[in-house]
Symmetry: D2
Subunit: 112 residues, 4 copies
């Protein structure tokens, strides 16, 4: 049987996989980025045991990803910084996704 | 060679396929539905030649789809009414998706 | 700092979120189901630390979900039974998704 | 009222939007690419009026997209060449997606 901490980490992982594979590919530009961030956060916070999701589409990276002749790009993992907090049976898990050597790295920060 | 009207209809179809397959599956409840509607509209309006996208997640159908013990559902095609307008080389195409016999039907309304 | 077991469970959760939100919505019928099962398994097994993914689109539920006048349906979570095994730093995590009271329930089976 | 040719082009567009936004983001490597190509083709051919979908994940571009330390990449539009044929009320539409100036360009080839 898994411990509550292990289940909490499993649940946090589900949220990251959901966030990444549901929303990458979405057409996005600077105007639509803030509304998309909120929509992603609220979608993930609907999932069980998720008490907070924080998504930042980094303006500098977004700007760089947008070809001026096209005017928008597709949301990709490396454009986002994400923090997700899950509470399960009294265990709180902090997780985040950040760029590391050019790749979006998902990581468990703490289990309390 | 396709006519401008045919290309305009092709472009409109791309938007519908994008909208449907990018966003269905998103966890949604009554509170998050309005923000998600806007985020979908803005995403699709980023695409070439799309001048307007209007998305309504129907509150009655959403309510019915949500199991009270779960508290949210996944966005599905039948929950949405959608209108998309595409302008291409002076041709305006109105398209929509509505429920018909239980299925979301995508349709070209007019080509002007 | 999370333990290896906790990270292993986090990694397993990522795979489930990925599988669910990448592939639900895919048009599927009885002929295309076996190839889709394999493609999903191979996609998930590409992800870090995933040593085995097993996907069964249940023929009975698929058949029931297909409207004969349409001839296909969209892949949804309740149509699938899934098992995923993750190895991380010597810890093996078995996880699965099965139908429970009509909902696809993702669960950690064992951590060894 | 749209003509049959216009509806045929609309239907072809839907298939492209579906293919792109359903499957981009899928973890893929050289071994899993052929099975994924077939699964995508069969999924799209399930959709109404689609008589043929042909997907080639280009090995040279895939190889270049894969970081050797990671061993796989996510499927993206620029990695694929796609041809889709739609028949609607006696009208045949050939459409394709190819790389053009670094971007995947979707195009109506012919309407007959």
């Amino acid at each position: 049987m898994p411990t509550d901490s292990e289940v909490a980490c499993f649940e946090a992982g589900i949220k990251f996989g959901t966030l990444y594979h549901q929303f990458t590919g979405t057409p996005v530009d600077r105007e639509s980025a803030p509304g998309l961030e909120r929509a992603i956060e609220e979608a993930i916070e609907n999932q069980p045991h998720c008490v907070e999701a924080s998504v930042a589409i980094r303006e500098d990276r977004l700007q760089e990803a947008i070809d001026p002749t096209i005017g928008y790009t597709e949301l990709q993992g490396p454009l986002m910084d994400v923090e997700i907090r899950v509470d399960y049976e009294g265990v709180t898990v902090h997780t985040e996704m950040e760029l590391e050597d050019g790749y979006p790295r998902m990581r468990v920060e703490s289990v309390e």
